[in-house]
Structures are given as structure tokens and as C-alpha cells.
């Protein structure tokens, strides 16, 4: 496959779309779990972007970044879910908008 039929812009648009859908999820979903998943969507959009640019530049640095992003994602998910469990044990809720003691 020496010629590329799919242009870079197509990958970028796809990445942008996935990123945006992730943003929507963060902004409108009540369930903390789904919000976490939406953040994963955003990170995956970034990964796609990295890999596409990597292909474009012919350097594998982008692949390395994806590797790091996966490590970060794993760490974040672990902590996020742990916080969620701690809250759920005390308040029996997994909805982010039920948590608003602190304000003003």
C-alpha cells in the first residue's frame, strides 16, 4: 500500500468527531461511569490522531505516545473507579449531579 487512498484529513475528522462525542458525554450524562467512558472516548480520539500523524510523518513517536496514553488511561480509570466506589459506599449513588455539597 504505497499510495494512501484515505487522506489524513479523514482520520482527523473522525478523531474530532469521537472527541466531540466524548465531550458531549462528559457534559450531559448523569452516571459517573458513563462520564468515565466518555473520557476514554476522548483519549481514544487522541490516540487515533497520534497514529494518523505518525503515519503521516513516518515516525513511530506517535505510537509511543499511544502507549503512554494507554498507561495514563489505565491509571485514571483505576483511580476514578476507586473514588466512585468510595462515594457509592457512603451515599449509594453513582450519579455525578447528586454530589454537590460544596458550592458557592
Amino acid at each position: 500500500m504505497s499510495t494512501i487512498a484515505v487522506p489524513l484529513a479523514a482520520y482527523q475528522i473522525l478523531a474530532g468527531a469521537l472527541f466531540t462525542i466524548g465531550v458531549v458525554g462528559v457534559l450531559v450524562r448523569r452516571s459517573a461511569l458513563i462520564v468515565f467512558m466518555s473520557i476514554e472516548l476522548m483519549l481514544n480520539a487522541v490516540n487515533l490522531s497520534f497514529v494518523a500523524f505518525s503515519r503521516q510523518h513516518g515516525s513511530m513517536d506517535g505510537h509511543i505516545f499511544v502507549f503512554f496514553v494507554m498507561a495514563v488511561a489505565a491509571a485514571e480509570v483505576a483511580i476514578g473507579l476507586a473514588i466512585l466506589i468510595a462515594i457509592f459506599r457512603k451515599r449509594e449513588t453513582a450519579n455525578v449531579d447528586d454530589v454537590h455539597l460544596l458550592k458557592g
Binding site: 465531550v23 462528559v26 457534559l27 450531559v28 455525578v96 449531579d97 454530589v99 454537590h100 455539597l101 460544596l102 458550592k103 458557592g104
Partner: protein, 653 residues
Amino acid sequence: MSLQLLWLVPILPLLGALLNGLGAGRLPRKVVSAIGVGSVGAALVIALGCFATLLGMPGEERFFAQTLFSWIDSGDLSVAVRLGLDPLSAVMMLVVTGVGFLIHVYSTGYMNHEKDYGRYFSYLNLFTFCMLMLVLADNFLVMFFGWEGVGLCSYLLIGFWYTKPSAAEAGKKAFIVNRIGDWGFLIGIFLLFVTFGSLDFGRVFTEAPSILPLGGGMATAIALFLFVGATGKSAQIPLYTWLPDAMEGPTPVSALIHAATMVTAGVYMIARCHVLYALAPTALLVVAVVGAATAVYAATIGLVQKDIKRVLAYSTVSQLGYMFLAMGVSAFAAGIFHLMTHAFFKALLFLGAGSVIHALSGEQDMDRMGGLKKHLPRTHATMLIATLAIAGIFPFAGFFSKDEILWKAFSNGGPILWAAGVIGAFLTAFYMFRLYFMTFHGSERLTPEAKGHLHESPNSMTIPLMLLAVLSLIGGLIQVPLLQGGQRLDAFLEPVFADLARVGGAAAHGAAAAAGHGAAHAAHDPGQEIALMLVSLAIALAGIYVAHRFYVKDPQAPHRLAARARGWYDLLWNKYWVDEIYDARIVQPIVRLSNRLWKDVDAAVVDGAVNGIGRKIEQGAGWLRLAQTGYVQLYALILTVGLVVVFGYLALR
């Protein structure tokens, strides 16, 4: 005395403050007094020594600078803590240490019953230190340090009786209003730094005429920003509202800070920066107009106050207005002269008022005074001298200084500024004698408990009064007009203001030209000066006469006004007919105007604006609270909005 000892002048009060502050509550009263008074006394002795040395030097060489240490030294910005002594700062230094010393002595009597005696003296010494740093500073930053420091001490001392909520509020108000002025000062300092690359007085003032074009935007901007700072500290329109409230503090504090020293810092600063102002005629005009307006406006409000200290507070605002008027018409030496004499007689007035209040166990309402002349002979005599001095009666100190300002206002600024000054003089004479008569003459209207232990104040209080009375009496003689060699203060200050000549004579003509009175009376015209002098003296006497009529001869006149309709016969045979015309046509309208100014303008508009801004800010704070709902997704949304805007601005152009 060697000028090398100069650094001791500010440092001694600082040491006193530290000793009393650290030992607060543990040291016996005698030790506290010794430290507090002794440190300022020693500073005064050294100051006098330095002054004598300075006098012994030839006029052109009377400049001395002493570097204490290098404060900021970062390549582009380099500031040393440096003290500078020249005739101008020497005068200020003497006023601060001299009046300060007397007030410290007075305080040992006045505050004797106070629980927090040590804390009081610690603050007072700290204030003296900051004020001395302000006047002895050799660059703008050190001056600003003193500037903020006196503000802080003023706040601490106004709120000294913290248990009174009004005192705490007044302290806060003073500090915040002062900070509003300070932002102007700071911006001015930044602009100076950008323009000159240095903040040293020497460099800035030497280079100013060559760097800043006469009347240019930068010079005007700098001068006006500095003036904003001066209006805050020196209680000029519109930032004066804190000063009357500041009377919540102990009376000696009012005398020292809110009459004699700190409030004059703005005047001193403008005199110090006279070169910059000479380069900005528009700014000078603003200074003159604000000063004249404040002088009249505050005097008018002073007419109807019942609280003896509030009368003096508005009087201070008014007199500061005179000093700014002098600055505005480039009569810098005259302004400093008035600053000095005012320090004497206003400190005396406050301390005398304090003595009265002390004698009456805290009573401040003049309606509950009267007839105190025989009970408080020393206080009465000294107060009379001070009242005559502030009213501008020959040969008391105030006569000379005020007349010099009025004359300069006429010759450099034109008849309108002069007329404002004369109206102010009339009002001053009136309300000051109103105060005097209501307090010391007439029937005794004392409350029983005040009458109970009515007593003359102890020596520690009356001796400072007498010393200040002497100064108020003869202080004006160092600057006698029309007399060959009589202008000793002018001559002494001359080397400081000599550089005005380098601004191309613009200083003398600037304000006049800007005011549209091209024909400046630069030439000395003795006949005119004498005529003006007589006019203002007559005006002052008229004020006293009116006050005498209404508050001594016939205190019932206002009440009898209602009986005017009794017919011609009564009126013709009524020997007070004249008084009633005066009353109806002159006094009552003025009193009504005064009341209106006080209640409507002062309380509602100016105070309202200051408080209103505060309220608006608090309202804004309330709205911001509403946004902080606690819902995390709203936070994310706001973040997204920010992202959209930043992204749109940066990437989509």
C-alpha cells in the same frame, strides 16, 4: 552634629515600637512611657542637630544622602534604602518629630487609664517611624513604603478601640479608601520607572525637564496619577470621606495622624515632585481646582457639625485644600509653610479638644458643653490662640501662611481661586469661633456626670498645649511678608525649588496660563499684597463677629426668628434687628446649604459612591457564587465555553 547620624532619626522610633510591641502587657506603664516618649524625644534631638548642621552649610550644598542598604538590586530595577536630607525634608522631619514628641508626651496623660497602654505607644512609635521614612525617603519606593506604612498604622490606631463597632468600621474604611488612592500612586511610580529607568528622586527630577516635554501626555499622566494618591492620603475630594470617620480613634491620634502629619503626606509628595508638576500645567490646574473646591466644600460642612472632633476633621480637610491650592498655583513654599503652621495649630486644637473631652469624661457633643472657660483656664487660653491662628488673625501663625497662599492664588491663579480661598477663610473663622464659643462661653449645658469630675487636665497634657500655643503664636514669624529678609522659610527652601527655573519659568506661569489668566503677576506688587491682606483679615474678623453675635450675645436668635412678625415697633426697638437680618439672609441660608451639603452630598453622594462601589463588588461576588453551583458538569461546561473562545480566537483567524 554629624549628618551621619541621620539614620537614627527613623530607627529610634522603630526600636521603641519593637520594644513596646514585644513587651506589650508585660512592661510597667512608666517603662512604656519612657520608651515611647524617649525614643521620639531622642529622634527630635538628633533631628534638631542635623537641622542645625544643615543650616551651617552654604545654601547650595544643603543636600545629604545616606544609603542604609541596597534593597532591590536586580539589574534593571535597583533600589536602595536611602535617606535624603534637604531643606524640604528637614522641615518635614522637624514637624514630624517635634509635633510627634509633644503628642507622645500628651498621650501619657490622655491614655493613662487605657488598658492597652503598651500597644498604643507601640503603634504610635511605629507610625512615627513610617512617617519619617516617608519624608526622608530618597526614592519613590522607600517613600511608598512609608506611605503604605502610615496608612496601616492609621488603620491600627483608628480601630484602637476595636470594641466599638464604629471604630472598627472606620479603621477599615480609612484603609480601603487609602488603598484606592494608593493604586494611583503605584501606577504613577510605574510610569516614572518606565520613563526614567530609575526611581531615585535625584535622577528623576534632574532628567525630567529633558525627557518629558512641557505639557506632554506622559508628564500629565504621571502627575495626575500621583495626585490620585495624594487625594487619598490627604483627604481631598472625592476621597476625603474616611477622615471624618477617622475621629473614632483616640484624640491624640487624630491630632498626630489626622491633622498634623500623615494627611499632609500628599502635600509633601507634590512639593517633592514639583518639577514633574511644573511640566504638567493641566495637572497643576486640576490640583488647584480640587484644592480650592475642597477648601470651601469641607468648610461649609464644618458649619453644622455638633461633634467637636468632627468640626476639626472637616476643618482639616478644608485646610488641606488650601495647601493643595497653594501647590496648584505653584506656590510650593507657601504650601509647605501652611503645612507647618497648620501642624502647630491644628495639633493644638485637637489636643485642646482632647483636653475638653478628657475633662468631660468623654463628652464630644458641643450642645452639652459651654462655659468651660473658668473650669479649664489653660485649655481655654491655648485653644483661643489656636482658634485665632486658624482664623488667620494677625499676628498668629495662620495669618501669615494663609495670606501667602491667598496672595499667590490671586497673582498666579486668578481671582476665582482667590475668591474661593476668601470664602473659605470667612467660613473657617465662623465655624472655628462657633466651636470656641459653644465650648468655652455661654451657659453650662453639661450632663450631670460630666459636671461631676470636671477638672483641668494634668501637666503632661497642658504643657504640650502651651508649647504648641507658643508655636502657633510665633510660628508665622519665620516668614514675614513685605519685610526685607523676612522670608526666612522661602530662603531656606529656595535651593529645593530652584530647579523650577530649569523648567523654563513654566512653573510660575503654567497654572495661570492654563487658567486663562495670561497676565501673571510675577512682579512683586506690595500695594496689592497689602490690600489683599486687609481684605482677608476683614473677612476673617467678619466671620468672628457673626459667630460672636450668634453664639455669645444672643444664642436665642434663631428661636426668636419665629417672632419676627410682631410688628414694626418691636422690630425697630429690637436691638437685635441687625442680627436677625444677618441671620435670615446670611446665616440661615448658609446653614441650610451646609446641612444639605453634609446630608445629601457628603453622606449620600460621595460616601454613597464609595460604599456603592463596595456594594456593587459584593453583588458581583454574589453572582459569582450563583455560578458556583456545585454541579460538576456545569463546571465542565464553563470550561468548554472557555475552550471554544480561546480556540476560536487563536486558531480561526
